[in-house]
């Protein structure tokens, strides 16, 4: 950072009164704990953002201050002290290790079980890597290929610099900062994230995931994603990675916005495997995510597919607003909780246009002492003629100390709507396990097999390359939950 700039920031920051005793240490690239308007100004400044961004952040912050943390979810969360968090840290350099011998053996074991290639293990665990996988060059070739088609795929920060008009047009258009407590917080302080724009009539030639596999490990605490598919465009996007993600930050509040125009299609898949806390329920990530897409034009389509096995607390309801006539949306979800994990997750399907369709397939798996809730809303507006919804919510219980709960909400304002809801709760059968045992499989393998059968409908919706890993991930997450 230039000397003049440093001085200017220092001047600006120190010439104000701080309610919370805010001190900025500009030698390092991390801001002291605490949150106030100056922190927000500083974040925006450090990122060299245009004025509209700062304005947006400040409005969001002021709104957030008037809000209260929601408590309606079936979650037991200790109070979070928002002043105890540092809201800006430049991407931390991970401690460089010289070889895999220095990596936590437990982590390596999990990598091996997932079948992650050796070179990739090194990248994910922070070992210096030679030329075999050069993520920079991978990224460059990748970008060139996309650029030829006019696809923009970059970090949110780059998008703010290089495509401010697009950002300005779509930021907050699906999830306004007024939407909820965590969305407001994210809008005020978000660090970075991804931006993707698919131009008219372009089909993205690859899953936007290969690149992410390496890079997702470094995503920030307050991530912001914006995906826009223009008319007739198509993209399949995968967020996250199956490798275990260790993160120092306990609170995560991400926002994902997706805009799907006429005849366009977006498929958004998530694998969430944040640290769930240990077996005693200590530690773990609190994951408060707002994900929403709008099927803006006629015949547009948005598909959500997610596998959630991580985090101590998950609060997440990927939703679709079906605005265009004949637009459709599908939601496929597996949420697995073990030990002391808690998940309150589901979806919202808001039918506004005519002849809109939605499908919900939710598979909950609870083990250990965990609590797993499905919460879903199907709303059909007055003018949404001939809306159709089918929801299937299944819960699988393992053992007798866990809980599964279903909270379906229906708001139907049009008589032509057809809405169906099916729910089942089952226990993994001793007899099923015995049957598998008798055919030569040990109990862990048997449980993995039975669970994977149970979630097959959802796994089939995941991008191919991740389907196999996702299956292994489920088995690993259930280790020690039977027997």
């Amino acid at each position: 950072m230039a000397k003049e700039e440093q001085d200017r920031i220092l001047e600006e920051v120190t010439s104000k009164e701080y309610e919370y005793g805010f001190v900025s240490d500009i030698d390092s690239d991390t801001i002291e704990k605490g949150l106030n308007e100056d922190v927000i100004r500083l974040i925006s400044e450090k990122k060299n953002e245009p004025a509209f961004m700062l304005e947006y952040r400040l409005k969001a912050f002021r709104h957030w201050q008037k809000m209260e943390m929601p408590d309606w979810a079936y979650l037991d969360i200790p109070p979070i002290d928002f002043q105890e968090i540092s809201y800006y840290a430049a991407p931390k350099k991970k401690p460089q290790l010289n070889s895999l011998d220095e990596v936590d053996p437990e982590l390596l074991e999990t990598f091996n079980k997932l079948g992650i290639p050796l070179e990739e293990q090194k990248v994910l665990s922070g070992v210096a890597v030679d030329a075999v996988i050069d993520s920079v060059s991978v990224k460059t070739t990748f970008k060139e290929e996309l650029a030829k088609k006019g696809i923009i795929f970059c970090s949110f920060s780059e998008a703010v610099q290089d495509h401010p008009d697009l950002v300005k047009k779509y930021l907050g258009s699906v999830v306004p900062y007024t939407d909820n407590y965590f969305a407001a917080l994210n809008a005020a302080v978000f660090s970075d994230g991804s931006f993707c724009y698919i131009p008219k009539g372009v089909r993205c030639p690859m899953e936007l995931s290969t690149y992410f596999r390496i890079n997702a490990a470094n995503t920030g605490q307050f991530e912001r994603t914006l995906i826009v598919a223009d008319e007739g465009g198509y993209v399949s996007y995968l967020e996250g990675c199956t490798a275990p993600q260790r993160d120092e930050n306990q609170l995560h509040a991400a926002v994902v916005e997706i805009v799907v125009k006429k005849d366009a299609e977006v498929k958004y898949s998530t694998v969430q495997n944040w640290f769930p806390g240990d077996k005693q329920g200590k530690g773990g990530i609190y994951n408060f995510v707002t994900k929403r897409g709008i099927c803006k034009g006629d015949h547009s389509k948005l598909t959500w597919a997610q596998i959630e096995t991580g985090s101590a607390v998950t609060w997440k309801y990927p939703s679709t607003i079906l605005k265009g006539d004949y637009s459709s949306s599908e939601f496929y979800s597996v949420a697995l909780t073990n030990h002391h994990q808690q998940a309150d997750t589901g979806t919202k399907m808001i039918h506004l246009g005519k002849n809109t369709r939605s499908l919900i397939v939710s598979k909950g798996i609870s083990a250990g002492k965990s609590q797993n809730s499905y919460r879903g809303l199907v709303k059909v507006a007055k003018n949404a003629e001939n809306a159709r919804n089918f929801s299937q919510c299944d819960s699988l219980l393992m053992g007798d100390k866990c809980g599964a709960h279903t909270f379906p909400y229906l708001e139907i304002s049009n008589n032509s709507a057809k809405v169906e809801h099916e729910a089942t709760t089952s226990k993994i059968g001793e007899d099923q396990i015995f049957y598998c045992n008798q055919r030569g499989m040990d109990t862990e393998k048997a449980v993995g097999l039975i669970v994977n059968g149970y979630v097959k409908e959802v796994i089939n919706k995941m991008p191919m390359e991740f389907a196999v890993e996702a299956q292994k991930l489920l088995a690993i997450s259930l280790e020690g939950s039977v027997g």
Partner: protein
């Protein structure tokens, strides 16, 4: 092959097997008959290691090894197969995938690599023909939506795939129509060899018309009360069990 000596076992504190002894040698087929509640299914479950049952006394040697010391899956991989009376459904898991994993586990136990996909499919095809099972069944989820007859055929098919040393068939004939019975029995007969053995647990004599046993045993009140040649089955059919248990 297997030598059971003075076996006692209980479930929920209730003693079911009360000192059962039986020896089956390689190449033999034994039929165990007996009235309801005699302990026939308990014997099948105890030998395969179902943890719902507790062995309180006795010894079982399988190929010279202490069977009771092994886990359910190790017993299976040592070559003990149980044809279930009520085969269990596993939704979402295809029969092919299920067998592929089971087969690979058996091979791993013997220090062998799993078969390649093409080798496995070849084996599958071969065994399917042997037990006359429909291709459609193997593509469906394990036992899901199978008719009673299909489930039993599927048990024999799995037996053919896993090629056990000792197969225990628990009431395999129950719920079968005459055609299915013929196919199931045909499968078992084709799998009979000098180096394997079969224990058939049955209520009725009619299965034994198709699978001819070397020995017939009557199990009543937790013990073998009478053993004899195959003709014993006919005698039982005629006289019932009462004369033996009184």
């Amino acid at each position: 092959m297997i030598k059971i000596t003075d076996l006692h076992a209980e479930i929920d504190g209730k003693e079911i097997l009360k000192g059962l002894s039986l020896e089956v040698k390689a190449g033999e087929v034994h039929a165990i008959m007996g009235p309801n509640g005699a302990g026939k299914s308990t014997l099948a479950n105890v030998l395969s290691g179902n943890e719902a049952y507790e062995v309180t006394k006795g010894e079982v040697l399988f190929e010279g090894k202490d069977l009771l010391d092994l886990s359910v899956e190790d017993r299976a991989k040592e070559g003990l197969f149980l044809g279930f009376q009520y085969p269990v459904e596993i939704p979402g898991v295809s029969m092919i995938n299920f067998l592929k994993i089971a087969h690979a586990e058996h091979r791993k136990y013997r220090g062998l690599e799993p078969l390649s996909a093409s080798e496995f499919l070849k084996l599958l095809k071969e065994k399917k023909a042997l037990v006359e099972i429909d291709s459609k069944l193997t593509n469906r989820s394990v036992n899901e939506g199978f008719s009673g007859g299909e489930k039993k055929k599927n048990e024999i098919f799995q037996m053919a795939m896993l090629d056990p040393k000792l197969a225990i068939l628990d009431e395999t004939d129950s719920g079968l129509d005459i055609d299915a019975l013929r196919i199931v029995a045909g499968g078992v007969n084709k799998l009979r060899r000098k180096d394997n053995a079969t224990i058939i647990i049955t209520h009725y004599q009619r299965l034994l018309e198709h699978i001819v046993p070397d020995f017939v045993h009557v199990l009543a009140d937790g013990k073998i009360v009478k053993s004899g040649p195959k003709e014993l089955a006919l005698e039982l059919e005629e006289k019932g069990y009462d004369w033996l248990t009184r």
